[in-house]
């Protein structure tokens, strides 16, 4: 897995690339922008090839901690394989999921203004 961070309209976009399973989830959890509970971020999953429940758990835990401190984690560009994990587990309804990263950024900007 590789994690790439970019900034767009003041919103941090974290791009996940490769695989997130039990062998790589700890690395995800250690990532600063992901683990910081006060920072709203967009996670761009376009180049994520494979996610399993250990990866899902890491994402959910980080999202919960953000929610609890009034921040958000928005998800964009899931492929079918990744989407299937959210669908089967029912966790799809815990997230705002966007087809395009640009739309997620717009939404994050709106959230910030309304706060």
């Amino acid at each position: 897995m590789t994690i790439t961070e970019t900034l767009s309209s003041g919103i941090t976009i974290v791009e996940l690339c490769g695989t997130i399973d039990a062998s790589t989830a700890p690395e995800l959890q250690r990532h600063q922008a992901i683990s910081d509970p006060t920072q709203t971020i967009v996670i761009d999953l376009a180049r994520l090839d494979f996610l399993d429940s250990s990866g899902l758990g890491a994402i959910i835990g980080a999202a919960r901690r953000k929610e609890e401190s009034g921040a958000n984690m928005l998800l964009s560009c899931m492929n079918q394989k990744v989407r299937r994990v959210f669908d089967i587990t029912g966790t799809v309804r815990l997230f705002h999921i966007f087809d395009e990263t640009a739309a997620a950024i717009d939404y994050a900007t709106t959230l910030r203004k309304s706060q």
């Binding site: 399973d21 494979f50 429940s53 994990v85 089967i88 815990l94």
Partner: protein
């Protein structure tokens, strides 16, 4: 005639992706042989994900004090059915785990739920002092 493929890996989480990639590749080979056209990604991905979950459990619930024991993954290719069995030397466990309550944002407990949804049959049994989780899926 059935074909049997066996992969033996150290019980170390570093090898989880090798397990799931091999499952995906084996399932793709199987669907190719069966000349199953589109929609194949769902079949291969079912094995990729189910094996990732089962291998991770086999490692995570192993007794680390005992050092790294091997985990064996066996694929059996039949006419229209693919079977995978994962064996570990862990303490026995019950498959009767409750489903997670989504509203509490649980971080764990999705593995067997995914496996049961993705596969046609799932059996967990004890054989020669090992846990064996056997999963099958028909094309």
């Amino acid at each position: 005639m059935n074909s049997v493929i066996t992969l033996t890996l150290p019980g170390d989480i570093r090898f989880s992706r090798l397990a799931s990639q091999t499952a995906s590749n084996t399932a793709s080979l199987f669907t190719d042989t069966c000349n199953a056209g589109a929609g194949n990604w769902e079949f291969s991905h079912a094995f990729e994900l189910a094996v990732s979950e089962a291998f991770t459990n086999a490692v995570n619930y192993g007794d680390r004090m005992q050092g790294t024991r091997n985990i064996t993954i066996t694929f059996t290719i039949e006419q229209r059915k693919l079977t995978v069995a994962i064996r570990d030397a862990n303490a026995p466990f019950s498959a009767e785990t409750p489903e997670p309550d989504i509203e509490t944002y649980p971080e764990h407990g999705y593995g067997l739920m995914l496996i049961r949804t993705l596969m046609d049959t799932v059996t967990i049994c004890r054989e020669n002092g090992e846990n064996v989780i056997t999963m099958t899926k028909q094309l």
